[in-house]
Symmetry: C3
Subunit: 270 residues, 3 copies
């Protein structure tokens, strides 16, 4: 068995034993699906966004997810309070820059969060992530919106060093790097792009894996990506249509264990 | 047939005939699932939270649900306006104290609502409910977070008297009491805790049963709990995994009638 | 093959090829389901409501959906900014008047939007739509809450002329008119009324069809209604219970193509 498979099984076992509390400040579209995804893998989700309670909630949690889809100004303030709290108590913060690059509000929200707080993992698709890099990085990554080219991997690695966090890019092939280690993950299915909240759900699952990973954040993120993609690989055996796929995928997140994982993770450290 | 079964069938029949309008001011996570749960049993859900319309909406409704998950300050004001309206027109108010005890904002929101308005049924899990009791009650209930001990039942009964409302505690075994009568309900399945919004959906279903119960609130709440748990008991025959269980559960809420109910409700009046 | 079937197939083909961006400012209850419905037919949904980004988002989109369920005052401002932008860039605006007539807030919101902006299609059920007409229209339509009487069709046609937009009334039989052409659509199933967000989802699908219809808005709306209803007709063959129906319906929206459409659309131009 690959070492990363043993790690994945170990992280998953800890999640199911400890049911870590994952505090989500996330968008309206995916609150329900992210909660169900976290419950399915064995974590305990809580959604709380009001400035008056995010400090208390984050300080009780084992990880924090910030997701800027459907952001508005008062939520940004809450995200920053929660992230500063998370930093002070030492729990991982996963940031999902939904739609970064699409509007000024979103791009600036991400920049403000990353200025004021320390982020553990930045997870998004290629265009979202690269839109947040330096001019040099945007140029490097520009040809790479679909496939994972070497130039994109280089750009991600540079960005991880610049931003001092794990960069995790979802796509047909995923790329996870802390600037030093680089993991490529090839589990996952095309139908995932036809179900809303699947990407956001991966950010939540990444938070749960990081919550139990003793600070091995790049490894935990790669494990989360591999596990999540594998559950999709198994779910398409039931259905490759989006409605019934989503149902089967939740079932797989709940039931997939060491037996299904062994030999099936397509995670490569490069 | 048990008398409570005949009552349950009668309440359900009235819901399906009259389609009572249930006004929900509820959290973002469960708005969709609560609406679907209410539609499935035959009620008419409406979600409306803006202070400018809650008075009108509550005055047209047959019951009001207040649920403080994802609460923020302006929503609390709306909840109080709606509940005062509900009190004045004489419709039942079901309060779901999601996360009470977890943050000051939530605990104080519940206290404020219960000070300013008259609540018909307070429905939550054991730790939520007991966190709202007196110091004495918290002590009484402290050993009871999992099973329904006699001490918890005593604490619930005392609380019902103190708060002048039905106390309804969900758990492996449920406890419903108005301070005088006590019902224990043993329908329901463990997988319900792995699907988000199932507890909140029970608060909504309780509202629908209370809406047609001619003020027999403890009985209507016990009937709602028994029916809801029975639908879960039937749904797990299709699947005990959370994604497909949720789908089967909605189907059962829609199709379960007198034939399935007879002899299957595990409701005991003690 | 009916001409309208050829048009429907053509519109659907364009949606699947171009994946038009549909900007939704919609209610909290249906954000997830509307996004999934749009993804299933091949469109690209985005939900964005903050005043600070709606201008940018609408100007990148191919159509705009405004839906006033769960409206609050600041969202109304955003809707108007977005609609003015949509008007200036020339993309269709679909308005769903959820609960119009039920509260003053909702009725006035619709009136304000229609005063300040140009609406392409107003889609709702009979009571919602007719509540927005003149006194004369309310009288004409008053007997028609269930079946589609000639009086309702006349009222809708007059309203289309008065409001300078397509009027699209959903019901057992649907009526779509631009004041000149009138389409009646008889695809669709009763169980659709037992799943939340199905009506709102049709508004979103109408937006996607209008986005690719070169300004043939009445025809595009009729095509959207026929296609949507046909997918329901096919989904009930899998299940007529609301939980599993919803799953099957999403699958059908994804997979139904020219083969299933030919000869199956019950669209009549009168």
């Amino acid at each position: 068995m690959m070492e990363v498979e043993a790690n994945t099984i170990e992280f998953l076992t800890r999640i199911r034993q400890k049911a870590p509390l994952i505090h989500n400040i996330t968008n309206f579209v995916v609150m329900n699906s992210s909660a169900n995804i976290l419950l399915a893998i064995g974590a305990s989700p809580v959604m709380a966004h009001c400035w008056a309670e995010v400090e208390e909630m984050a300080s009780r949690a084992s990880a924090l997810v910030l997701n800027i889809g459907t952001i508005q100004e008062d939520w940004l303030e809450s995200m920053i309070i929660a992230a500063i709290t998370a930093n002070s108590v030492g729990i991982p913060v996963i940031l999902d820059p939904v739609g970064a690059g699409a509007t000024k509000l979103r791009t600036e929200a991400i920049e403000k969060i990353m200025e004021d707080c320390s982020i553990s993992v930045l997870r998004g698709n290629c265009s979202e992530i690269l839109s947040l890099g330096s001019a040099d990085i945007k140029t490097k990554g520009v040809d790479s919106s679909l496939s994972l080219s070497d130039r994109t991997v280089d750009a991600a690695r540079q960005m991880a060093i610049d931003k001092k966090c794990v960069i995790a890019i979802s796509g047909e092939e995923d790329c996870i790097t802390d600037g030093n280690k680089v993991f490529r993950v090839r589990n996952g299915q095309p139908v995932m792009t036809r179900v809303t909240g699947i990407g956001c759900g991966l950010s939540a699952v990444t938070a749960a894996f990081c919550a139990v990973a003793d600070n091995n954040l790049a490894l935990a993120t790669a494990a989360a990506f591999g596990y999540y993609g594998l559950c999709a690989d198994l779910a398409v055996k039931t259905s490759d249509k989006p409605g019934s796929f989503e149902v089967a995928f939740i079932d797989q997140l709940y039931s997939t264990g060491s037996e299904e994982i062994e030999g099936q993770l397509k995670i490569e450290e490069v």
